[in-house]
């Protein structure tokens, strides 16, 4: 009995030690997929950039540093629930393991610099009135029932895993398109309809303003 317990304990220790390297192996397999593609799937980097930085001109999104759970969910959703003619084809050709691997790889890449939060120790008066985009991202507009982006997407838009993706540094073309799609109902895979409800309260001008602000976040 005691020996069995010891064996179990030993196995658990071994398993625990193996976990990080297993995750590393996942990311390595994902890297191969991202760089070389797989059967019926071209390399991700062709559109999403050599380092997962995305392509501002076309609106292909930044993937580097995005949280893994969010990426897995999107790839799964591209198999049906989230419509995108390009991604749908590729996602359908990916296995669950491949999805998990490639998501682990992109999550492991450095995102935007974390942007260390500097708390005011001596209060200073704000200099200029904030732009509309900045106001929406940091404060929201509660007169219109709009919460701040950062309330759910984290300080400086760094994201809060597993459900809330990073926004900082995402190209404005992509963010604008997503908000517009939630507003119109073209994109519907947001949890609990949270993004739909926010996007429907935003005007097209506000969507443009906040998308531009988020792209330029340090």
């Amino acid at each position: 009995m005691l020996q069995n317990t010891r064996r179990l304990f030993g196995a658990a220790l071994l398993l625990g030690a193996a976990m990080p390297s297993l995750a590393y192996a996942d990311a390595q397999a994902g890297e191969a997929l991202a760089k070389h593609g797989a059967k019926a799937v071209p390399p991700c980097m062709q559109c999403h950039g050599a380092n997962g930085e995305g392509q501002a001109s076309t609106g292909f999104p930044r993937l580097a540093g995005q949280n893994k759970d969010y990426l897995v969910k999107q790839l799964q959703n591209f198999k049906g629930r989230r419509s995108n003619p390009i991604m749908q084809t590729f996602a359908q050709a990916l296995s669950a393991k491949q999805i998990s691997d490639v998501a682990a790889y992109y999550a492991s890449l450095p995102g935007r610099p974390a942007g260390k939060q500097v708390w005011l120790t001596t209060p200073t008066t704000p200099v200029a009135p904030p732009s509309r985009g900045q106001l929406l991202a940091q404060q929201g507009d509660w007169d219109k029932g709009i919460p701040a982006c950062f309330a759910c997407h984290g300080e400086k838009g760094a994201g809060i895993a597993p459900s809330f993706p990073a926004l900082a540094g995402q190209n404005a073309t992509y963010t604008n398109k997503q908000l517009t799609d939630w507003r119109s109902g073209a994109r519907t895979n947001d949890p609990q309809g949270l993004m739909k409800d926010v996007a429907q309260k935003l005007s097209p001008d506000e969507i443009a303003a906040v998308s531009a602000y988020l792209q330029n976040l340090p």
Binding site: P123, P126, Q139, W142, P147, C152, D197
Partner: protein, 296 residues
């Protein structure tokens, strides 16, 4: 007789007939000014003099006048502005700016959304103009500072900063600044959390658990533990050692239900049906939390 008297006056140099005209006119004038408020009251149901005409009009239709607090970028510079800014910082990041007075993982803004500005989320401007006031909670007339101290003791499970501390002065300054232009002693629209109708069905934790799983877990976690990043709560814990204690207002099912119904999930306030708000409030307040310090 009188005519003779007038005649004698007009003959003296000290008098001129136009004085009579002036005197009569001024008597009418004074009477008219004195009569105006009465006329106004009769036609207009008496708004208090301190209210603007806009607020007075709103009081007639809503009973409770609307109020819009100022935007943060209009905080003035100088010593007073610095106090207001510090108060705002304490309010947003209580864990940083008033750390030693807080005994849990919460920040003021967790229950008072939009930095204490949002209507129907117990805004500071709504509370500020209603103090001093008698409270059943401690059976005495409380100043606004004493009311804030109650938040520290119960909702923050801590110890209030002293009345003359920079933290307390800053919080009062911030509240005062947010309430600028509001009439005092008036229940402004959006004060507190809007009371719900009494629950049609007895609030039920089991139904509440289902509401919680469907709507709250995404941010507050399956065990109500909140979400932490780098050791700091980004979504607040709803029960357990880092949440508000059992003496807090939010530990009352009716208060929690009212807050939830008006404000949760964030950005979707008002979407839960009232019964769901009652049930989920019952569920979350059925869990362990730090004890009421009055019972220690």
């Amino acid at each position: 007789m009188i005519l003779n008297w007038i005649k004698s006056l007009t003959q003296s140099r000290a008098f001129h007939p136009s004085w009579i005209v002036l005197a009569v006119l001024s008597i009418f004038g004074v009477a008219g000014v004195m009569a105006l408020p009465a006329l106004y009251e009769a036609s207009n149901a008496a708004p208090p003099a301190a209210l603007t005409p806009k607020m007075a009009a709103e009081m007639q239709t809503h009973k409770r006048p609307n109020f819009s607090p100022p935007q943060a970028n209009t905080i003035p510079s100088g010593e007073f502005g610095d106090a207001v800014l510090l108060g705002r910082n304490i309010f947003k990041n209580t864990q940083v700016y008033a750390k030693s007075f807080v005994g849990n993982g919460l920040n003021c803004v967790n229950c008072h959304l939009d930095d204490g500005r949002k209507a129907d989320s117990a805004p500071l401007w709504g509370a500020y103009v209603k103090y001093p006031a008698y409270r059943e909670k401690n059976h005495k007339v409380n100043t606004y500072e004493e009311r804030l101290a109650g938040c520290f003791r119960f909702s923050m499970n801590g110890t209030a900063p002293a009345a003359d501390s920079k933290e307390m002065i800053a919080l009062i300054a911030y509240s005062f600044w947010l309430a600028q232009g509001a009439p005092t002693g008036v229940d402004l629209a959006g004060r507190g959390y809007p009371k719900l109708e009494s629950a049609a069905l007895m609030p039920d934790a089991e139904r509440g658990a289902a509401v919680f799983a469907a709507n709250c877990v995404i941010c507050h976690g399956a065990a109500g533990q909140g979400t932490k990043i780098n050791g700091k709560y980004v979504f607040p814990p709803l029960w357990g050692k880092d949440s508000f204690n059992a003496g807090a207002g939010m530990a009352n099912v009716s208060t929690a239900a009212a807050f939830i119904r008006a404000n949760m999930p964030l950005g979707q306030g008002g979407t839960l049906v009232q019964q769901a708000a009652w049930d989920v409030a019952q569920y979350l307040n059925g869990h362990d939390r730090p004890p009421d310090p009055r019972l220690k």
